[in-house]
């Protein structure tokens, strides 16, 4: 247990050194309020924000004035759904289409919106986590105002056919929101090519600081503000800006843009090595998510006859950090709603572990992980009363 292996990069990532360096002065000398345009200290802060905004806009093929900063991917998701829903209040448009495998930031917001008369259709996904475009088309109603579908899933890594979905939304004149929190930096995003009207992002998933999110809003989109108050973000999102965090977000995106191809290639190789390693060394495992249309850093398996938390605890003892289900719900007793939506039975879903890699990981780390998992699963299975799929399916 010499080296610590952090394999939970979908939960959050280490803040990159370059990012911290860039942020530093905005804690120290350059602490001005960006709303204070009449003295230099304020103007410097404002310039820093605008620089970050441009970095994001360029990366997404968007315009600067279409980029807004929020406090988290969660806030962006809330803004997209509530902002569009409330802008359409009492206008005969009260229907949202989303999927069963969205993040809770989407699902719980949709549930909440029921009290305002908003109805939501939750699309099914197949075994690999993909939605069915025909089902999407069939679920569109005259009242549909918004389609909200995640670019890539945080648990199983499945990447949806966003461009095709965007075309369907566009044809029907329906706004299209994409939760790209996990996709940013790992999948090519072009808001125009992909017909995206609204998009959520989060800095801490790509080596940026925690507590800062991003939102793309296509110009001309009818959407209410979510946080009301001062004139920040061109009057669209109030609250004194976390300047240092925005600077960090900008830097993280700059790095992501610079390293994009390399990053994807390197991680895909590691990911495939881990998938093969587990498949070949541990019996009775099920790969969750799509075999190829998946995030380059996501490996999610179910290990039959054992339970996930025990695996995680044993991994932790070996210095490996991973996750069962999504970070936000660990500590919950429910099996992941995503895994259940792909058709896993509860018992199998309970025994699922997600490894999400980063550029810090080397090939020998992958092999160590496989070896460790092999031992852990064997140990736990030896004391499991479940021995086969029949046992697993009881109840």
């Amino acid at each position: 247990m010499s080296r610590k292996l952090y394999l939970d990069n979908a939960a959050t990532t280490r803040v990159k050194k370059e990012v911290i360096d860039e942020m530093r002065q905005y804690f120290g000398e350059l602490y001005g309020n960006p709303s204070s345009q009449l003295y230099e200290l304020g103007r410097k802060s404002k310039e820093a924000i605008e620089k970050a905004r441009k970095t994001l806009a360029d990366f997404l093929n968007a315009e600067e004035k279409e980029i807004y900063f929020t406090a988290s991917g969660t806030e962006s998701d809330n803004w997209a759904l509530k902002g569009v829903a409330f802008a359409n209040l009492n206008k005969g448009k009260n229907h949202i289409i989303t999927t069963k495998i969205e993040h809770h930031a989407i699902l719980h917001t949709c549930e909440y919106l029921e009290k305002f008369g908003i109805e939501t259709t939750y699309l099914d996904v197949d075994r690999h986590g993909l939605i069915d475009l025909e089902e999407l088309k069939a679920s569109i109603r005259p009242e549909t105002m918004l389609i909200s579908i995640m670019f890539a899933n945080n648990e199983i890594g499945t990447i949806q056919p966003i461009e095709e979905i965007g075309e369907i939304a566009k044809e029907h004149g329906i706004l299209f929101h994409v939760d790209a929190v996990q996709a940013l930096g790992s999948v090519r995003i072009d808001v125009n090519k992909q017909h995206i009207d609204l998009m959520s992002m989060s800095a801490h998933k790509i080596g940026g600081p925690k507590g800062i999110g991003g939102m793309y809003i296509r110009k001309g989109t009818r959407i209410d503000n979510f946080v009301h108050g001062g004139g920040q973000e061109r009057g669209r999102r109030a609250g004194t800006e976390g300047v240092q965090n925005i600077v960090g977000f900008g830097k993280a995106v700059e790095i992501a843009a610079r390293n994009f191809d390399d990053h994807v290639e390197r991680l895909t190789v590691l990911r495939n090595r881990l998938i093969e390693g587990i498949k070949n060394n541990i019996p009775d495992v099920v790969l969750n998510g799509h075999p190829t249309q998946r995030l380059p850093n996501n490996v999610n398996f179910s290990y039959k006859y054992v339970e996930g938390e025990s695996i995680l605890l044993l991994l932790d003892m070996e210095g490996i950090s991973a996750s069962s289900g999504s970070a936000c719900t660990s500590g919950s007793l429910d099996p992941s709603h995503v895994l259940l939506a792909t058709g896993l039975d509860h018992g199998t879903a309970h025994g699922s572990i997600r490894f999400t890699l980063s550029e810090e990981i080397r090939e020998e780390d992958i092999d160590f992980t496989v070896e460790t998992m092999k031992k852990i699963i064997a140990k736990l299975r030896a004391m499991s009363p479940i021995k086969n799929d029949e046992d697993l399916k009881k109840n």
């Binding site: 339970e307 996930g308 025990s310 919950s332 018992g347 199998t348 004391m383 499991s384």
Partner: protein
Amino acid sequence: MYTEIVMDHFRNPRNAGSMENADGIGQVGNPKCGDIMKIYLKIKDDIIEDVKFETFGCGSAIASSSIATELIKGKSIHEAVEISNKAVVEALGGLPPVKVHCSVLAEQAVKSALYDYAQKTNKVIKGLENYKPEDDEIHCQH
């Protein structure tokens, strides 16, 4: 999150495994809930001479099973039936609130194994007269 005792029992579970020719076997929980406990008892002259457990479940489920087997090993069946989930929690030095159900499961697994023994041997164990294994199934708290 877990106490040192829980972690110790989780890391080095006592009496883990199955048992041939057990005198009583009890199993509670189900995979849907994410917890199954199976207790095997070897009983002689109403004394629990040996005990084994198999558990599918989280860290505290395994630790609860492990400590429960220690609590009852060498005890008479009349003493064993008195072991409550509180005793399990105490012996573990505490459990997080969301994990207390694991101790309940452990208590019930023991009772279920004792019941099985009582059924097979036609004995009456005070405290188990009205015990029905099905009642025991705690519902998933989901």
